[in-house]
């Protein structure tokens, strides 16, 4: 029997390490340590309901397990064979408990290829990885395939870069392989920087060997013997697991000299990034690895010609690599049979925002936004109204109700005015202000711009200033015009992908939520009640009994007595001076007569 406990960063933060320890201690106390194995796995994806504990082989999925629940699971489930019902997932529709994750709405429409081993194996144990087919693909390419055949197979599969741009991976490998050189590099881009995105981290934490294996395969295909993983230092667990995986692979002869007796040498080093979004751009990433300032340079030359240390280099994203071994073992045709016409395979998304099932999901390309939000995501939190979904992170756009049936693939998302990006997906309900959302993403790009080119360095700052003006009620219709022109020019002139896409959240909200902008500018109103400067706290003088509780609680001394006594009341009513009010809401919470409201 196996007890699988999620050891991803999220569940660890919810005490999954303690859960593991409790299992080990209690099982040992009962003398069951040899029969029941406790495994710390990578992320299961259903972070909303973490920490997750799964019991195998009977495939029982416990959610939101606390350390004190462990004793019950051991006593009831492991010893007596009875499921602990109150720890099972409850279907929100029919209120029934579901034990098998296959039957949960969250998992039903998912297809896990890149995440195939996450949640199944102990990522720090190479044997468990090998038992699930790990390194089979490496063995196959080294013994049965020529480098060109590997490139061809990956090309045929239709795999495209999962970092966001969607360049065909096999073609990229082929371009690099053409530039034969005594020193070439395979670089894994693990500088995941979109706010709220954790696809790559989860793969590295849950199945690090898939990356090690894929990089070696890539090295063989393009003729490189050095691998480098550029990973941000704020991913300590992913770094640790990659280090363990690399050490184990070396020990098993799957990295190093003469791998599996094939004569092929390959090894991997880690390089740490300081957490700059722009370093996800491949030229900036390479500069950062070289010890230079992490800023992009113009392409061409492409890294395939002149990359790390001016040597031909192939840069792929973590998720892209994670797909490679299974393409080799199951074949390009199998992979190409999944997904849509131009976008093959699956895509991992970090589902976040005002949605019931927050977590990490993997779906076939072509799945609609509606399926993701309502089936997998379980709909909008609190039954509120869906307003927008933001894909592609700070470079993406906000899509609306009318886009819900858009199939998820590179072309469709771009056509709808957003982009695939690396896989962040934030769902918003009617409590989100779209102007504030555009401002939020722009704040991020302003913070993360390297400052090299003027449109991004100054233009984004100016756009942010205009948006700030609008959210503070100082905007004009001319500002909206200026915003559009500026956005278009930045898109047209910025040096790198970060700058060229940074206006997207602004442009897409201008296109899809024009009314909301106009409301902010003309009516000085924020319908979602997010823009504080546009809010006004008012006391209904007819309802106010003049008790003065609000006046006492106001930290800004903005409330004073009026001369007016409402009919039926004895004391004069209160009023709020908007010039002093700081909109903290203290008055509302103290008023027992519902006399204060926000306008």
């Amino acid at each position: 029997m196996h007890v699988l406990v999620c050891g991803g960063t999220g569940c660890q933060a919810s005490a999954s390490a303690q859960i593991i320890k409790n299992f080990e201690d209690i099982l040992a106390a009962k003398g069951l340590q040899d029969e029941v194995q406790v495994v710390r796995t990578g992320c299961f994806g259903f972070c909303e309901k973490g920490p997750i504990v799964k019991i195998m082989p009977d495939n029982t999925f416990y959610t939101q397990v606390k350390p004190e629940d462990v004793e019950k699971i051991v006593n009831e489930h492991i010893i007596k064979g009875r499921k602990v019902t109150d720890l099972l997932y409850m279907d929100p529709e029919n209120k029934e408990h579901v034990a098998d994750s296959k039957h949960m709405g969250f998992y039903r429409k998912q297809l896990r290829i890149a995440l195939r081993n996450c949640g199944f194996i102990n990522p720090e144990n190479i044997d468990e990885c090998i038992s699930r087919g790990g390194y089979e693909a490496l063995g196959k390419v080294l013994s049965e395939m020529t480098p060109q055949q590997v490139v061809d197979e990956v090309t045929k599969s239709g795999l495209r870069g999962r970092g966001g741009a969607g360049f065909p991976t096999g073609v990229k490998w082929g371009l690099c392989a053409k530039n034969k050189c005594d020193e070439m590099y395979v670089i894994c881009n693990a500088d995941e920087g979109d706010p709220g995105a954790f696809m790559d981290r989860s793969i590295m934490e849950g199945d690090p060997h898939s990356i090690v294996e894929a990089m070696a395969i890539c090295g063989y295909a393009i003729g490189a013997t050095h691998g480098l993983v550029y990973i941000r230092a704020e991913y300590p667990l992913a770094i640790h697991r990659l280090q363990v995986a690399i050490a184990q692979a070396r020990e098993y002869g799957l990295l190093g000299k003469d791998i599996l007796g094939s004569g092929f040498d390959f090894d991997i080093e880690l390089r740490y990034g300081a957490g700059a979004f722009v370093c996800g751009e491949e030229t900036a990433l390479i500069h950062s690895m070289e010890g230079k300032r992490g800023e992009p340079t113009l392409k061409p030359p492409f890294p395939a010609v002149s990359g790390y240390m001016a040597k031909p280099s192939n840069v792929n994203n973590v998720e892209t690599f994670a797909n490679v071994p299974i393409i080799i073992t199951k074949g390009a045709d199998w992979f190409a049979s999944i997904g849509s016409e131009k976008s093959k395979g699956t895509k991992v998304f970090a589902l976040a925002g005002q949605i019931n099932n927050v977590g990490l999901i993997e779906v076939p390309m072509g799945t609609t936004l509606r399926d993701i939000i309502y089936e997998i995501g379980g709909g909008i939190k609190g039954g509120r109204k869906f307003k927008a979904v933001q894909t592609g992170g700070p470079s993406g756009g906000c899509l609306t109700e009318k886009h819900l049936d858009t199939p998820i693939d590179y072309e469709s998302l771009a056509a709808a005015g957003s982009m695939m990006g690396s896989g962040g997906m934030v769902v918003m309900d009617d409590t989100s202000c779209m102007v504030a959302i555009a401002k939020f993403y722009l704040e991020f790009t302003c913070e993360e711009s390297c400052g090299k080119c003027s449109p991004c360095r100054i233009g984004n700052k100016r756009m942010l200033e205009i948006l700030t003006k609008i959210t503070e009620g100082r905007g004009t219709m001319d500002d909206l015009q200026e915003l559009r022109n500026l956005a278009a020019v930045i898109k047209d002139t910025a040096l790198c992908g970060l700058g060229q896409t940074s206006p997207n959240p602004v442009l897409s909200t201008l296109d899809n939520f024009w009314d909301e902008y106009v409301e902010h500018v003309v009516d000085k109103k924020c319908r979602a009640g997010v823009c504080k400067k546009l809010m006004r706290y008012e006391i209904d003088k007819e309802k106010c009994i003049g008790c003065g509780a609000c006046k006492k609680n106001c930290p800004a001394e903005a409330i004073s007595k009026t001369d007016y006594i409402a009919p039926g009341h004895k004391l004069p009513s209160m009023t709020i001076d908007p010039s002093k009010c700081i909109k903290c809401g203290a008055c509302i919470s103290t008023c027992k007569f519902s006399a204060i409201s926000v306008k």
Binding site: C456, R457, I458, K461, D492
Partner: protein, 594 residues
Amino acid sequence: MINVTIDNKQIQVPEGTTILKAARMAGIHIPTLCYFELAGMKFENKPGGCRVCVVEVTKDFNGRPRRNLAPACATDCVEGMEVLTHSARVINARRTVVELILSDHPTDCLTCAKSGNCELQSLAQYLGIRDIPFKGEQSHYRQDMSPSIVRDMDKCIMCRRCENMCNNVQTVGALSAINRGFSAVVAPAFEQDLVDSPCVMCGQCVQVCPVGALTEVDDTRNVMAAINNPKKTVIVNTAPATRVALGEEFGMPAGTIVTGQMAAALRRLGFDYVFDTDFTADLTIMEEGTELLGRIKKFMAGDKSVRLPILTSCCPGWVNFFEHNFPDMLDVPSTAKSPMQMFGAVAKNYWADKMGIKREDLVVVSIMPCLAKKYESKRKEFYKDGNPDIDYVLTTRELARLIKQFNLDLKDMPCEDYDDPLGESTGAAVIFGATGGVIEAATRTAYEVFTGKPLPKIDFTELRGMEGIRDAWVDFDGTPIHIGIAHGLSNARTLLQRVREGKEQFHAIEVMACPGGCVGGAGQPYHHGNSEIIKKRTEAIYREDLGKPIRKSHENPSIKKIYEEYFGEPCGHKSHELLHTHYFDKSEHVEISE
């Protein structure tokens, strides 16, 4: 050759040509800002950062239009490419980009040191910008001033020319981009002051800065105050390279020699005596040449303690550079002071005594093509009782400003002579202004002293040229002497590294910090990347040499006289006291007077 069409004009260009260069070949102007090239000096700055030179590629390699606008400076032409440099889309983008740059740039053009020479100003004019639609926060940075350079980074437009110059051409490594986004700026590491950085004050960053972010320290007010003070005797000396560049500030073609007009103008500004640094350049040759011969003779006699090659030491940027970067070799350079510091020492001792002027009542001003000279004059070893040998250093540009303030035009000036006795000089002195000149001047004298024979030919053309590193064997009547020359500090570093590692042996090496030598100095009129200007100035330097009646330092009558009257012999006791100096290890720490 490949075919491209720019603004409907078909042209053929070699493969690897950028759109910008192709357009220039076709006579089409594409405005640029960050782009900068110093042709023939291995300096091309094209970070593609400002985005002013963007153009519309209507047909790319794949036959389709390019999605984004392309920076012409950094995009190579491909066969069949079609480009529009001034379409409505391009003009709107270009104009918006410049408006954005202006929105984060102080508009204090009235008082800006760069006004009239500012490339951003010209660009705003070209694009007809009359107002800046974007109002918002402006960047503010702490002002920083070294003895030579003023950094006003509020004006920085992140063209990165200075950074590129400092790191790649000069390998000084004082400047680099720091911070992110809107706060990004070029600065010394950790935003420390320039004086605490490895800056050698060569000022080449100032020479290439398109705006007023990097400028020279202005000493014109101090100089005018001294001239206006009746108690002070104010004398001036002019460096060799100033006389072939000053004319440019008055609309004369590059390479015009204005020696006589400059002397006349200086008199009209109110200087009491107008002398020439060329006089002390001849003196430098006497000292440095004697030192070289001394070392060579000892070496040939088998003295293993002799340090060869001797390195020239007249360039203060270079002196700083080896003090910072080669502290293990401080006993290698010649101990002879630079001509300017020799002038100060001679003026405030020999001449002041002779004239009966008290040291504190004598103000010595230098006109220099150089910014490091401002720093050099403030080195503590060149002070006596709190009074410096050289009081103020003005650059060629500052002098031009002063002359204009006095409503004078150099073109209208008569040709006047320098005053005696510190005004007489030879052709050997004037060539100090060009790369290879110091060592050629030294060779002319050393040859005759060493061999006791007259030179068969005066012009050592093998020592001239613009190659960054040059070397030549000179036959001293049967004794071959190996001479090395470097200009630009990366070349100096390369050459000195070879010497340090024992890979190559030289008897003497001349180094000038600035590309081209002093003619390309940071205090000279801005060349805006036109390296032809530097070449023209160099030619003028050699023309001036050719026109001199005496062309060997040791034949200068005033030099002979000063040795007879005062110094006795080169490298003698008195010389050592006044004309020689020593060097400091600055690898960790820098000291400045005042």
